[in-house]
């Protein structure tokens, strides 16, 4: 279990407990946190679960797999700290992770 904080574009903050093994994307979808569309359902095929990760967390996350950076090319306003939240699998190590959800996904 990890506490994940999602900052949405309307300047609201949502902190929720997400079970280990779920993705950061699923944590948002299951808790009705707006702004993560996840059109493809977590298959790294759409870039609509794009988030900005708080800088201090960047090094602590699992490395990007092949294909994630390619999909981020398609994302809305990608930055250095962009990740696809479907690829961030929650574990105890991610307790306290904070992500910002972009103003839109497409």
């Amino acid at each position: 279990m990890a506490k994940i904080t999602y900052h949405t574009h309307d300047n609201k903050t949502h902190t929720v407990d997400v079970q280990n093994g779920l993705s950061v994307m699923e944590g948002a979808v299951q808790n009705d946190i707006p702004g993560i569309d996840a059109d493809c359902g977590g298959g790294m095929a759409c870039a609509t679960c794009h988030v900005y990760v708080n800088e201090e967390w960047l090094d602590k996350l699992p490395e990007k797999e092949d294909g994630e950076e390619d999909m981020l090319d398609m994302a809305f306003e990608p930055k250095q700290n962009s990740r696809l939240s479907c690829q961030l699998i929650v574990s105890d190590e991610l307790d306290g992770l904070e992500v910002n959800i972009p103003s839109k996904q497409g």
Partner: protein, 338 residues
């Protein structure tokens, strides 16, 4: 006006298999899709990627699955209406009237929405001014490449479309290719070709840059691009092209009066009918307790929806359950009766 039993919206695997199930029970259907080809997400998102969970097919690609489905429905000679999106749906007497954005009209007994996550639309630039120039000097697809002759074109993107057009247009235009990182997702051969053109001075490559603004009054005069290190550059440009792939948008479906749950349509699990009698929804676009977004679920949903359509198309007839192995009628429809 096209008059038929059923209109299927969406030519992905679910829509295609539903057409098969309609054909087997003797109903006619036509299929509309916004893409320029059949196959839906399978063909647009992962034509070359393997799928391992189609029952009795240990492994196939999105393209193979699509081709096999097309072969399976060949006996039914189904009409496809591609490159168009359904805009309007309304009930007239006891049938449904449907109109697409290219003006094609249908009168049908029922509609099966197999629209996946919505219709594919190009992803657009996030900067505001881009909209002002869209379709005059800023494009997300190319219809007539001749307009670019002897002009300066700035292309954004790192996939195959961006690379292929950069190479092609560099023959008769001055091309700037801008991409947000040094690596490209397009084919290596194209990347090599772009680098070769760059070294010969036939193309200018700007990596780690993204669009920051489009400058011009009536026509585009230049674009400002911003580097990862926050420095900006202004490059002269007559045309701007953006190739960021496609995004799925639900679009007009939102306005048809269907009960929605986020971006999906609520259905019953008996025949996948929606709250509007005669409109069914199957595949990724439908939702019900326990819904799994798998192709195999879409096949099951399509088989039941097809049977649900029967009572609207043939109100005076009774549908008898039959197996294709033994049904003479089904085999006649498949053209395999000996």
């Amino acid at each position: 006006m096209n008059k038929t039993d059923v209109l299927i919206i969406g030519a992905g695997p679910t829509g295609l298999f539903c057409a098969h199930q309609l054909g087997i029970i003797g109903l006619k259907c036509e299929i509309v899709d916004n893409l320029d080809k059949v196959g839906g997400q399978c063909i647009e998102l992962y034509p070359d990627k393997p799928i391992y969970d189609i029952p009795a097919v240990p492994e196939c690609t999105g393209e193979e699955l699509t081709n096999n489905l097309l072969q399976q429905i060949k006996p039914f000679n189904i009409n496809f209406h591609l490159n168009q999106r359904v805009e309007e749906v309304k009930k007239i007497d006891n049938h449904w009237y449907v109109k697409t954005n290219s003006g094609k009209e249908f009168t049908v007994a029922s509609i099966v929405v197999a629209g996946g996550v919505g219709s594919f639309e190009p992803r657009k630039f996030s900067v505001k001014e881009a909209e002002k120039f869209e379709n005059t000097s800023l494009f997300y697809s190319i219809k007539d490449k001749n307009i670019f002759k002897d002009k300066t074109i700035t292309i954004f993107g790192g996939g195959d479309s961006a690379l292929d057009w950069a190479i092609e247009l560099s023959n008769h235009s001055k091309v700037n290719l801008v991409h947000r990182r040094d690596e490209f997702s397009g084919a290596q051969a194209s990347v090599d070709k772009v680098k070769e053109l760059q070294s010969k001075g036939k193309l200018d490559l700007y990596t780690k840059f993204q669009l920051s603004s489009v400058i011009g009054d009536k026509n585009i005069e230049s674009v400002a691009i911003k580097h990862d290190d926050e420095t900006t550059k202004e490059i002269k440009s007559d045309y701007v092209l953006g190739f960021f792939g496609l995004i799925m948008q639900l679009g007009p479906i939102l306005n048809w009066g269907l009960n929605l749950d986020k971006k999906t349509i609520q259905v019953n699990t008996e025949n996948f009918e929606t709250n509007l009698p005669g409109i069914f929804a199957i595949g990724d676009i439908c939702s019900y307790p326990g819904k799994l977004k798998l192709i195999l679920s879409g096949f099951h949903e399509g088989a039941l929806a097809a049977r649900g359509c029967f009572k609207y198309a043939r109100p005076d007839e009774k549908l008898r359950f039959e197996f294709t192995t033994t049904s003479k009628a089904a085999q006649e429809r498949l053209g395999v009766k000996k």
